[in-house]
Amino acid sequence: MLAGSDNTHPLSGGTDLAVAMRYGRVKPGLIVDLKAIPELAPSIEMADGLLAITANTVMTDLENDERIGKLLPALVEAARVVGSVQIRNRATLAGNLANASPAADTPPVLMALGATIVIHGPSGIRALSVDDFLVHYRTTALDPGELIVAVQIPMPARRSSSSFLKLGVRRAMEISVVCVGASIELDEDGSIVKAGLGLGSVAPVTLRPRNAEKLLVGNTASPELFAAAGDAAGGECSPIDDLRASGEYRKAMVPVLVRRALSIAQERSGVGV
């Protein structure tokens, strides 16, 4: 049904689609309500080293899941700043990805955590990383007729943790000036085995600062190393001026937020602090 026409829109939470329809930016010929598909019903499951979140799982489901709060704190931190409770009771994690806004809160965290997006379509099932899924400004790798069915996140290893920081003009109901997701895994000596970063509101698409990640891996976690990674990340982004902040300010804030997010993640991992 989804593949039938260019003007068919999948709907789950509808918090973006409904606004676009109200303002006439989208005039769907047909809407397919994914909430009517039993396989996509809200569900958060842990199995085979993966946390699997189905497409109709909403932000408040994530916030209220104690397992996620403990294992993947960054995901809860990002989920709970998406709009209001009313929005989060409807808005889905999959929709936050599919909407592909560069200012979205959860994609930077999913990127940092190495999440995989599971897609079903007329030609079968495929899985993409967040950086391969988010192609460009408001553009995803979804082909006509394809749908996100689930988001899978690797369960964190021992001595690892994550964090999310958001800078906004006010505390609630806010689109980010800059937001950062960070995750690190350390060995028992405090050397970084794995590092993941994602940046929001600093480029046309959620940005993965690869140079900063490379700088971290293989080195011993320290405030100096985190500062250097922050500076590298600042150099990788290309923010614009808009009503919320200037590009220059955003670029200056990236190193600060990346450094802080990494420190918080290290603190939570319990290694070398």
Binding site: T15, V19, R22, I31, S84, V85, I87, R90
Partner: protein, 152 residues
């Protein structure tokens, strides 16, 4: 085509118009005008209703999505007397112009239903999506906390 059926404040309604949003169904079709038309983009919360136990922006929900749902609007809070929450709003002079109050009440009621003794911070968080153009936030927060404490 199957009819859309809604239960609103305990009463079942069918013949709900398609291609309409829940807010307009409530106001124009069922003549329950407590839920307000304001930003129409999920920013202000004036259209907040409780749908299957959760606070939602009725301006962002299609009638079809609400098929089979149990909805409570501000008109469903009081029976003969005002509800305890409404009474607390009155006692705390929480309504100034009053336009946002139906939405504030429904967001607050949904909070109290799932968390009967919220902290001040939890009240503020639950009502973050409800703007008050008179900026009466302190009185509104006080009222919700009073209602949670019960009659003194």
């Amino acid at each position: 085509m199957k009819q859309i059926v809604l239960t609103v404040n305990g009463r079942k309604h069918s013949s709900i118009p398609r291609e309409s949003f829940l807010l307009e169904v409530l106001r124009d079709h069922l003549e329950l005008t407590g839920s307000k038309v304001c930003c129409l983009e999920g920013e202000c919360g004036a259209c907040t209703v409780i749908m299957d136990g959760k606070s939602v922006n009725s301006c962002l929900i299609l009638a079809e999505e609400a098929d089979g749902a149990e909805i409570i609007t501000v008109e469903g809070l009081a029976d003969e007397d005002l509800s305890p929450l409404q009474g607390a709003f009155l006692d705390n002079a929480a309504a100034q112009c009053g336009f946002c109050i139906p939405g504030q009440l429904m967001a607050a009621q949904a909070l109290l239903d799932r968390n009967p003794s919220p902290s001040r911070a939890e009240v503020r968080e639950a009502l973050a999506g409800n703007l008050c153009r008179c900026a009466g936030y302190e009185q509104i927060t006080d009222a919700v906390l009073d209602a949670a404490r019960g009659p003194t």
